[in-house]
Symmetry: C2
Subunit: 633 residues, 2 copies
Amino acid sequence: MTTTLRRVPAAEFARVQEQISDPYERTRAVSALSRINTLYMIARAGSGHLGSSFSAADIVSHLHLHEMRRPFEEDGDVYFSSKGHDAPGLYATLIGLGALEESLVHGLRRIDGLPGHPDVHTPHMPFNTGSLGMGISKAKGLILADRLHGRSRRVFVLTGDGELQEGQNWEALAGAVRHSMRELTVVVDHNKIQSDTWVADVSDLGDLEAKFRSFGWGTLRCDGNDPAELDAVFRKRAEGFPDGPVAIIADTVKGAGCDTFAATTSLRDGEWMYRFHSGAPSAEDRESAYAELLLVVDGLLSRNGLDPLRVETVQITAPPAAQVAAQRLPQVYGEALVDLARRDERVVALDADLVLDTGLIPFSEQFPDRFFEFGIAEQDMVSAAGGLAAGGLLPFVHSFSCFLHARPNEQIYNNATEGRRVVYTGSLAGLLPAAPGHSHQAVRDVSAVGAVPDLLVLEPANAAGVRAAVQFCATATQSVYLRLVSAPVPLEADALPEAPLKVGRGRVVREGARTVVIGSGPVVLAQLLAAARTLAAEGVDLTVVELPWLNRVDPQWLAALAARADTLTVVENQYTQGGQADTVARALLELDAPRTPRFRGIGLTEVPRCGTEAEALAAHGLDAASLAAALRP
Amino acid sequence: MTTTLRRVPAAEFARVQEQISDPYERTRAVSALSRINTLYMIARAGSGHLGSSFSAADIVSHLHLHEMRRPFEEDGDVYFSSKGHDAPGLYATLIGLGALEESLVHGLRRIDGLPGHPDVHTPHMPFNTGSLGMGISKAKGLILADRLHGRSRRVFVLTGDGELQEGQNWEALAGAVRHSMRELTVVVDHNKIQSDTWVADVSDLGDLEAKFRSFGWGTLRCDGNDPAELDAVFRKRAEGFPDGPVAIIADTVKGAGCDTFAATTSLRDGEWMYRFHSGAPSAEDRESAYAELLLVVDGLLSRNGLDPLRVETVQITAPPAAQVAAQRLPQVYGEALVDLARRDERVVALDADLVLDTGLIPFSEQFPDRFFEFGIAEQDMVSAAGGLAAGGLLPFVHSFSCFLHARPNEQIYNNATEGRRVVYTGSLAGLLPAAPGHSHQAVRDVSAVGAVPDLLVLEPANAAGVRAAVQFCATATQSVYLRLVSAPVPLEADALPEAPLKVGRGRVVREGARTVVIGSGPVVLAQLLAAARTLAAEGVDLTVVELPWLNRVDPQWLAALAARADTLTVVENQYTQGGQADTVARALLELDAPRTPRFRGIGLTEVPRCGTEAEALAAHGLDAASLAAALRP
């Protein structure tokens, strides 16, 4: 299918900058052009954070056009977004201002292009963000370094409002006061909506200004979508608070700039979920937004005496759709959890602002009393799960796996030392989707929680596996870290029949000869089955084994498998260190068998790349072709 | 050496409770008796948190005597300390009130006794604390569970004031307001001193009441060492805030109850460090405190018409002192860091309120501009280190290893994805000292950070090893997690000569035959060398190898070692899963050698026990005798 998209050439950014003399009108123009290109980039990529890119667009334009000193030079002021979700908007502006190569406008979320969240390998991205709540701390470190070097750059940090639910923000405030950080300004993009819905409904922030003030910060407030107010507020910041850090609460609208995306106009009657947080808009929404955005720009150009905007049309041909299961695993999981909760009154669910992405909407609707929304506060959520377990319940705790294994790592361990039974369900596990970039690719989860006592790490391969896993969690004596892949499930992984779960035991999913390969989850198993087809054509008969337990292996089961193997390879959808390959290798050696198959582990050896599924799999040697090459005797 | 200690029998607690009619006087009496027994327990154990046990004593007594409903019954109100450092004081009171067996008074920090920090296996300890900042979250979970069960227990959580520097506290507040948690009261033991010194000098809390109020909590304030004020404040809590959570800021004095320990009287002119945070007092201080405490009690009993206190004397004979090195590793480390900083201007040091225990006092004094104190805010510290590295510096980040690998786990990874070079120095690593209990025993650090890209985990065995490690950190291209044992270094580990550090390579520290054992660090190597002596007497000639790299092994080096081994055992001062044994096993298999030695890994398989060094080593099979038995062919 071919789609026609539109984008604004950099020359048009140059034209409006040169020819619009009024500074506020210039800001509006750059913001409006950036929004058009943001839409282009996200539509082309198929995903991206549209709502917060639009809400922050005027702040980004104002800072770069008027406030920052030498923004793109080594000794110039520094800007970055702590949440990083608004990267497409920032990229669009930087491309428009000539600070990033224009060709990158076509490369959002593609390999060697512009990552889904900021990465230091892209010019003018001082930090990797996307993991929330780290920005103020990082800015403080940079300022302390600058002071030691005798530099006096100012640092502007954009945070989300939902992001302020993370405790690290509040940890970070005192130090900025202690060090009288006049260089530091935090701008809160207060668009009132976090990933799924209104911040006030998730975990109300209360009086934000009072909070910052109580931590000793100066505070100011303005309309963050109004260039004149932005200009005034930064003047007040400089004049009113010359000696310390300031938080500017910028009231914005998520999706600001056109009615189609604006939170104030896009939510239909009775709707609670904002639809433009991270996915690409529908064709209808996209076209209506394009029309609105172009109308805004042309009105702006016209009233400033300029010719209409020249847009470039770009034809995009979508690759043929892959054969995938109808449902993704988090959705199946959510339904299974509802079924379980009907039978087991102990089951409660805890969420950290990802009710949609973790499949929890049915649970939250059917068991509102047993559903607890914590907001973006994973540490609080996990410790509270410990409290719920202490109170006799069986908590299922949810977040993206990239956050769930790491942010509350000490809290998970603390629960384990109490012997509490808790189920940690981390969705978005593994390398895919690779489009959001490494902050969202959970490829270190197995190692980071694998040694927690009495915690089993379990990765189901398909819908049947998810249902069995949920049932297992209900009756196990251990805690479980459920590693859920959110990427679409390839049909051949989906088709694998249900199998009973026995801790540490796997099953053969493709009978073959003495070249044996172990994998788990839909991504690896599908690539392995495809690799097996390739190899079969060459006369190599691969035995493919699913071992869904990532930190346990049953010695007896392994001994039987090893006895039928000349070579045994473990392929992992995560870093090859500290995961299943290590566990299997150790167990294999400790079998103390007279004969041990040749062993090899394959997995990630470097920070995961951002890109399409195919790009990322190939880049890390986990696509069927690379695996076939690696497994070829 | 024999020491005479004094303790108050439970019968005396019963007498004052029965015979003192005035409720405030009764509280004072129970607090005073508890303080005497706290001193006894800590003096006997040789360590324990005296200052905060004393500051909180009146709060604990008041709650249990007057405020809590059925405090020791299943459906009664719940009290726990979130910081958990004040455990000795709580134990003393619970023993005095008959809620814990009296014999436990002799068992602080001993195996099967009372752990250094609360553990759920002790009666009336609802949660494991000692890891800071989790208490409010846990209380919330318990209350949510109670509500589902139709229960209405009240929950009282004591927090430290320094503890409030942890972001998780601030994460936790919103949910309590959202759920109108009238059941929840937080009492801040505001003794103004955190581990080393004044909170205001570490990371000033500012206006605590304003902070809690800005998060929507009710606040009250009182003298937390005055039973009458405590009584009044809890009345106000019930009457004034019937519908939501309340924080009571209880102004206390660290070490309250006698001049010797009170922060207000014990700091000498010009002293900044409070001396009674966690160690046992000197004999002189102990005796003067005993005298003061007994005087207080006898005055109290006399004015209430009671006979003087009957104390029991207990003779304690200290075991002979072990042969250990003059300096502990953190002290050597601190000096080496100063040396390095003199030569390398990029070196900066970051601390999280453990300037004494991480050896940083010399650095902080000699390089005040390059020393940054973050308070108990590990996430903030680690992200700020990323900022400092981005600014061209080489940050050395410090905390206890138990906290450093876990609390800022995601932040460490984020720094790694940016390719920042940071040195993370975790002291108090491993099983020993075992007296503080599992919250402070870092035995999961290797696995939890071992898979972070380009991060080497390195554990030096003695002073020479520490100096070499610091020098390595200065010139390496990777980041380093330096695992520092704080327990005394046994002389035979201390005596091992300096050896050059090459990544993944170890060295033979005891030449022997084909029974080869790998270990690292002073604890394991000393036990292995002792085990080797035992085995030598039986004609078994052990080869002992130091491999200080815990997540790397050089294949060539390993191949040479394997060639001279019939059996190869890896012994670890941490969980046996996810650590050095896994790394070595995997590498050994992937050597694909014609012959592989028999392999075994030995390490912790369960949550570490609290106790003396000897008790803990034996309990986990890591003492020389157990290792000799395990290694005997």
